[in-house]
């Protein structure tokens, strides 16, 4: 399947004709971003791709500005962040947008991922598109983790210690690898320096993979709420103005939501312990990662063995890479899969439950529940999905997207002719 294209670009002015015969950039962008044929039935869950592009841009712009005031040294990092908050003009705003922006980015990406699971967007022919998305998710996690270390508070320091120590679970090479990551025998100034360097680099790697992600999207085209493929031109609408308007409206609502956090409760998603400067001799009573890592942290702690816990945590993301092949059902959308619909929501509840447990101390009933939900998480992907595709009897699929929207599709003929 070759790349999907909308109506090609026709240069009108003399200058654009001159330009297009030398650098046909509009010829590339116009059919992929303006007239791109998009299924006519996309709902608001499909606006999160655009929202994520917005989040990435906000993080890069505010991050570049913060880097002008931040000092990556153990004796200055904490003070320079406080300087941004108190002395730099609008520094408080820029930092709160950046720190809450990370949370907004993860809210949007989790919705985007669960939307993909709900409507079967990972299935043939979109496997590579999905895998690139999982790569983006991993890059986001690495970037967010390193960014959280930079203010050099207590939670920064101990979060960095715990997460880098995960690698010490690797047999034989564990200690070598942690020393290489730290540049010393513990998290210290060399660690802070290199995390700063990588925190600046990784967002641009994310930009690169986003380009691949969108490229792959433009080969297969969007999935849609029915999960059935586009069959004719009347199943689609040009991206602009129909989806630029829809994405734009959703983006405004999202920005309102974002602004509530930035202006009214800028610290609610953070841990107050991180306003205490890093102390390498005292571990805080209760180490918790940022909320967006909690489900994975719960899986790590659920396994009573160090290496086993680390493997389970990485496997919980690794399993997403092979999701397109674990789900044996040919039907994409949950709308036509009555049993999968139930299991999907159970998985969502299990993930939220793991998030809750990740924030609790590792004792008593919390540990038992972490184990049950961790087992269920893997059961969902490794057993339920493969078996369900064989046992489940899907509902009758509509003949086309147009039919699912308009009944038998007659009402649309006038429009497509005009």
């Amino acid at each position: 399947m070759s790349q999907l294209h909308g109506e090609p670009y026709q240069p009108k002015s003399g200058f654009m004709k001159w330009m297009e015969s030398r650098l046909p950039i509009m010829g590339l962008l116009y059919p992929t971003a303006v007239t791109f044929p998009t299924p006519r039935n996309l709902n608001y869950w499909w606006t999160f791709g655009g929202i994520l592009m917005f989040c990435l841009s906000v993080q890069i712009i505010t991050g570049i500005v913060l880097a002008m005031h931040y000092v990556p040294h153990v004796s200055m990092a904490f003070e320079s962040v406080e300087g941004i908050m108190r002395d730099v003009n609008y520094g408080w705003l820029i930092r709160y947008v950046h720190s809450n922006g990370a949370s907004m980015f993860f809210i949007a990406v989790y919705i985007h991922m669960f939307r993909g699971m709900y409507y079967g967007s990972y299935k043939e022919p979109r496997e590579v598109l999905w895998i690139l998305g999982v790569v983006l998710f991993l890059l986001m996690m690495a970037t967010a983790f390193m960014g959280y270390v930079l203010p050099w508070g207590q939670m920064s320091f101990w979060g960095a210690t715990v997460i880098t120590s995960l690698f010490s679970a690797i047999p034989y090479f564990g200690d070598m690898i942690t020393q290489l990551l730290w540049g010393g025998f513990a998290v210290d100034n060399p660690t802070l320096n290199r995390f700063y360097s990588l925190h600046y680099l990784l967002p641009f790697m994310i930009v690169g993979v986003v380009v691949l992600h969108i490229w792959a999207l433009h080969v297969t085209g969007n999935n849609n709420p029915t999960g059935i493929s586009v069959k004719s031109k009347q199943d689609t609408l040009p991206f602009h103005p129909f989806y630029t308007a829809k994405d734009g409206f959703a983006l405004v609502l999202f920005i309102l939501f974002f602004a509530i956090f930035v202006f009214y409760t800028p610290n609610i998603l953070g841990d107050p312990v991180n306003y205490e400067k890093a102390n390498s001799l005292v571990t805080p009573e209760h180490i918790v990662p940022e909320w967006y890592f909690l489900p994975f942290y719960a899986i790590l702690r659920a396994i009573p063995d160090k290496l086993g816990g680390v493997i389970a945590m990485f496997a919980s993301i690794g399993v997403l890479f092979i999701l397109p092949w674990l789900d044996t059902s040919k039907v994409r959308s949950v709308s036509f899969r009555p049993l999968y619909r139930q299991f999907f929501w159970i998985l969502v509840i299990a993930c939220i439950g793991l998030g809750y447990l990740g924030a609790k101390p590792p004792e008593g009933a919390y540990v038992i529940w972490s184990r049950i939900l961790t087992a269920y998480y893997f059961l969902h992907f490794l057993v339920i999905l493969p078996v369900l595709g064989i046992l489940e009897k899907p509902r009758l699929l509509p003949k086309s997207i147009t039919e699912s929207v308009l009944g038998n599709g007659d009402g649309d003929k006038a429009e497509s002719k005009g």
Binding site: G183, F185, A186, P190, H286, I287, D305, K306
Partner: protein, 184 residues
């Protein structure tokens, strides 16, 4: 002619492989400095040993000193604490190896292999699970308790319960007087 063509293509194959191999070696040797720069540098390595005067630590108390950026616990154990540690059956230990850098090898984790003088327990205060600092006089064995993920260490710094896989590391140290040690 056919044979000379075969001969020529063989020679070219060899050149391709030789050139490719040379480029791989070159790329690897260029990459190594870029990787090795991340390892502990000379200034970090220079902090390899410290000397501590322990005469001010009363029996039953402990102090924490910083060595190579990590805390080291020095505990002046009471006779009861020594007795409990020495009488702990080896089969009760989760990690049967001494983890004593001064002894090395596979010696068992009996109390005698964890100390030089029984009244002085010296261990690196980094939980062997994920690197948090355990809290003293807490946990089921009154030694140390790691608040991060719930590992319990006994009065000889040995892991007894929880996710940590190994006993607290005993660094290499030597006595340089009655109540003074050099660690490292």
């Amino acid at each position: 002619m056919a044979s000379s063509e075969t001969h020529e293509s063989n020679r070219r194959d060899f050149l391709y492989i030789a050139t490719g191999a040379f480029a791989v070696v070159g790329a690897a040797s260029a990459a190594w400095p870029l990787i090795h720069q991340m390892n502990p540098d000379a200034s970090v390595q220079a902090l390899a040993s410290i000397e501590i005067d322990m005469s001010a630590i009363p029996v039953g108390q402990s102090i924490t000193v910083k060595w190579q950026g990590r805390p080291v616990f020095i505990r002046h154990r009471t006779p009861e604490e020594i007795k409990i540690s020495q009488e702990t059956p080896l089969e009760d230990l989760k990690d049967p190896v001494a983890r004593n850098a001064g002894l090395g090898g596979d010696v068992d984790a009996s109390d005698a292999n964890r100390v030089i003088q029984p009244e002085w327990l010296i261990v690196v205060g980094v939980c062997t699970h994920l690197g948090c600092i355990p809290v003293k006089n807490q946990g089921d064995y009154n030694g140390w308790f790691c608040p991060c993920h719930g590992s319990h260490y006994d009065l000889a710094g040995r892991i007894r319960f929880g996710p940590a896989p190994e006993n607290l590391l005993v660094p290499k140290y030597e006595f340089i007087g009655d109540d003074a040690v050099r660690i490292g």
